[in-house]
Symmetry: C2
Subunit: 495 residues, 2 copies
């Protein structure tokens, strides 16, 4: 067997273990009885440790080197697979075990402080924990940067969005920061003039669930290969052949769960569409978190919050809940799905203000990793950035720098992927409309296969064959930019 074949076999095993971890993680979040938590933690820790040891075993480094020497004999997908193996190995092998443990401990401790500190709006109590985490993350960034040949912050980014470049993100985010404040002003002024009473329900959970399933199926979710369940924090889990999404229901607001389900359905369709022949191999996985988020945002923001989609969905929604009247006409439903409001909380933000929340976090975490901003200065820096980007300032840290878990449990470099995803979604949808001129019309008729087919061919089936930048450029015909996103916002909110 060649070194490459050995590696494929090894990574197949790692992939199978990681799939098992993924299903158990879903189980933990969705259906596990609470008393199973500590046994489950042990099962997951053991499986993760075994996968890690499989990945950093001494012979892997040798085999990678051998396979790379003979890469000329490999096909395109195999070469890409080898590149992804190397990347995964670099991240896994960069840090000594003791270091990984120290990070894990610091993050667990800080997360516990954060849960309490957020509840009590006590940033000072969380600060020592955050300082410890940041110290470790900066070390990790430095070590990985040397291995990867990137800047320290890019080494963190690379964990979630392989190959992401600070120069590119700076350019894109600066462009957004340039046009966004005026756009938010204009949209807010426009919407202030419109009526906006919400129907209050109650909307029975079982009816919401059936509606969600009906829409999911119509859009292309295959329940022979997936499930819809309930969890406190909605997510898309499972494996490509068994994709499991979750939601939570609110009896007084059906649209929130419906849009949440459609968002996760976007993630699910991506998972499901990954290349079958590369299952369990690194190259068969989703390209990165930005591309993943692009698929959920494409479905939720570009498709399902559109007038066309609601033209299709309005009669189904009316029938499901047995309602009628002006509030339930397409235009009223649509208006309610595209409200813009300057808020403090990222997870509650609409698509227009969302980038402001992300850019703020991106700038602050970069400064902290660079050593230019101290955690103790975070509340002040947060307020200043909020004022600049959104024109509002939270009254407390709970609605400010304590709102997100990311920094406190070690997910540095993750935030930018949300807005990169929004940009990719807009650019992909633009390209799909160009290739399928009747796209808006067929969506209004409840036909989603043209769009799904396009996405399967251009994006899903590519797995990790290309870099995100190449994938976007191949699929859309141009490098990632902000033009489609800006045009989308102007069309939707100002016309």
């Amino acid at each position: 067997m060649t070194a490459y074949r050995h590696l494929e076999e090894r990574f197949r095993q790692i992939g199978a273990i990681e799939q098992a971890v993924s299903v158990l993680h879903w189980d933990t979040a969705a259906i596990m009885p609470e008393g199973g938590a500590s046994a489950r933690a042990e099962q997951l820790a053991t499986l993760r440790l075994i996968a890690h040891r499989h990945l950093v075993a001494p012979q892997i480094e040798e085999m990678l080197a051998k396979a790379e020497t003979a890469a000329g004999e490999l096909g395109e997908w195999q070469r890409a697979n080898l590149r992804e193996m190397r990347r995964r190995w670099l991240h896994a092998a960069a840090l000594p075990d003791a270091f990984v443990e120290a990070e894990s401990r610091a993050c667990s401790e800080c997360e516990a402080l954060w849960r309490k500190g957020r509840l009590e709006n006590d940033f000072a109590a969380v600060l020592p924990g955050l300082e410890r985490v940041l110290r470790i993350e900066r070390e990790i960034a430095a070590i990985k940067a040397e291995r990867l040949g990137t800047t320290p912050y890019e080494a963190l980014l690379d964990q979630y969005e392989p190959g992401a470049s600070v120069a590119v993100i700076d350019r894109l985010f600066d462009q957004i920061a340039e046009f966004l404040p005026d756009l938010i002003d204009a949209a807010s002024a426009r919407q202030a003039a419109l009526p906006s009473a919400d129907p209050s329900g109650p909307f029975p959970v079982e009816t919401q669930r059936r509606l969600a399933i009906r829409l999911m199926e119509r859009i292309g979710f295959d329940f022979a290969h997936g499930r819809l369940d309930i969890s406190a924090h909605p997510f898309c889990g499972g494996t490509p052949d068994d994709v499991r999404i979750t939601t939570r229901y609110n009896e007084s607001n059906f649209a929130r769960s419906m849009m949440g389900v459609l968002h996760e359905t976007g993630h699910a369709l991506y998972q499901r569409g990954l290349p079958v022949e590369w299952r369990l191999q690194p190259v068969g996985r989703a390209r990165g978190m930005a591309m993943h988020e692009s698929q959920s945002l494409l479905l939720e923001m570009q498709v399902c919050r559109s007038r066309a989609f609601l033209t299709y969905a309005a009669p189904i929604i009316r029938k499901a809940f047995g309602v009628a009247g002006p509030q339930w006409e397409v235009e009223a439903l649509y208006r309610r799905q595209i409200r813009v409001r300057r808020g403090f909380i990222r997870v509650d933000a609409d698509e227009m203000t969302y980038p402001a929340h992300v850019i703020l976090r991106y700038r602050l975490e970069r400064a902290m990793i660079a050593g230019d901003l101290q955690p103790s200065e975070l509340p002040g820096a947060w307020a200043a950035a909020m004022r600049e980007l959104l024109g509002v300032v939270p009254e407390n840290d709970r609605e400010g720098c304590l709102q997100d878990i990311h920094w406190y449990d070690g997910n540095w470099g993750y935030f930018p992927t949300y807005t990169l995803g929004a940009l990719i979604a807009a650019q992909l949808f633009d390209a799909a409309r160009r290739d399928i001129p009747e796209l808006t019309q067929v969506i209004a008729e409840g036909e989603f296969m043209p769009l799904l087919g396009w996405m399967r061919e251009r994006v899903h089936s590519k797995g990790s064959l290309l870099s995100t930048a190449q994938l976007v450029e191949t699929a859309t015909g141009r490098p990632l930019g902000t033009a489609s996103f800006e045009r989308h916002l102007r069309d939707r909110y100002l016309n």
Copy 2:
């Protein structure tokens, strides 16, 4: 670290992997979308292979030898743990990998033949597959017998019921075969005189589920550490801290599912009561399949099909389904739960005829393993044994030797555990009534903690500290016999 400590650490990992396998197995049977099957098979095969390799790694044999040399320094539980480690290692390391693969392949092929052959009542079509499986099982039995120092058939038994002795089983089963036919005759004659119309429902599934949950909770099942779900073949899975039982509902027969749930609840309480301080270690596991079956049969047969239990449950059942009348009085409910009927199918058998089905299979599989009976002679031998033990003969192989999967997928040596479990259950319940004189009365009042407490202390918390024989003798004050079982049958069916 001592060799023993090393082993504990190693077996802790194996235990965690096996727990993960158990949860994934539950998921497969209870909730997995069908399209996830092949990916799941790969996940499970990978985890099982890793657990196997952990167990047979070269250093394990050395460490076992070292630890056994220094066993004098160990406590009682540690020594028992070491003994169980050795036993698990013996079974796992006895067979070369190629052999394990050949067995797995022969069983998969034969199982496929069996599924088709049973459907079409075509034993001849299954015969070549069965012959291959038997050939391999005989080899396995011979190899393991040499390692374990037992007879070949006992080596197979040991896989399910450690330490089981053919001499003991022969004696017990011969005693049963001696008294059973007359007893079945007498009970059948008696019951023929009694009315036996069944209420026909429909009994809504959701009502049945709520009733099951209510009874489970009352009996001591803790839903913070477990679940109740649906699967085609009811079973008890999960882990001691997260015990998951399943059932299936029949709208025209609520008692079947109710008794099925109570049976699985017996398994679940055993799992849940295993010693916390030995979680993940071999000594912390259930003692064997006979003891496991004793716990389900104790709850179902000894407790829940009793007049006392139905005195407690009758008003709850009536209220749940909104029913009343003579059919729903305690005596009528009780009569319906203790029907005796000579049937062809083991899984449909009542507690009185069940041992006949088991003894038949035990005798036939022993003869086949010994080489005294050829698979081609099975249909004839089956008919003869049925006539002798039950006085009925099936008209076809589908209701005869094709009914059970066990032989066709390689579970030789399993059958005796069902009836050993029934004997243990009767003897344990006898002992519990001796120790708790008011037991029948408190059960009629819906109080199960006295019995559960007794069982926790005498059985559950012992894990695999003792052999099955020692455990029974310690808990009940005498060696396992048939007296309690026979008395139970006479009391229930002839008085």
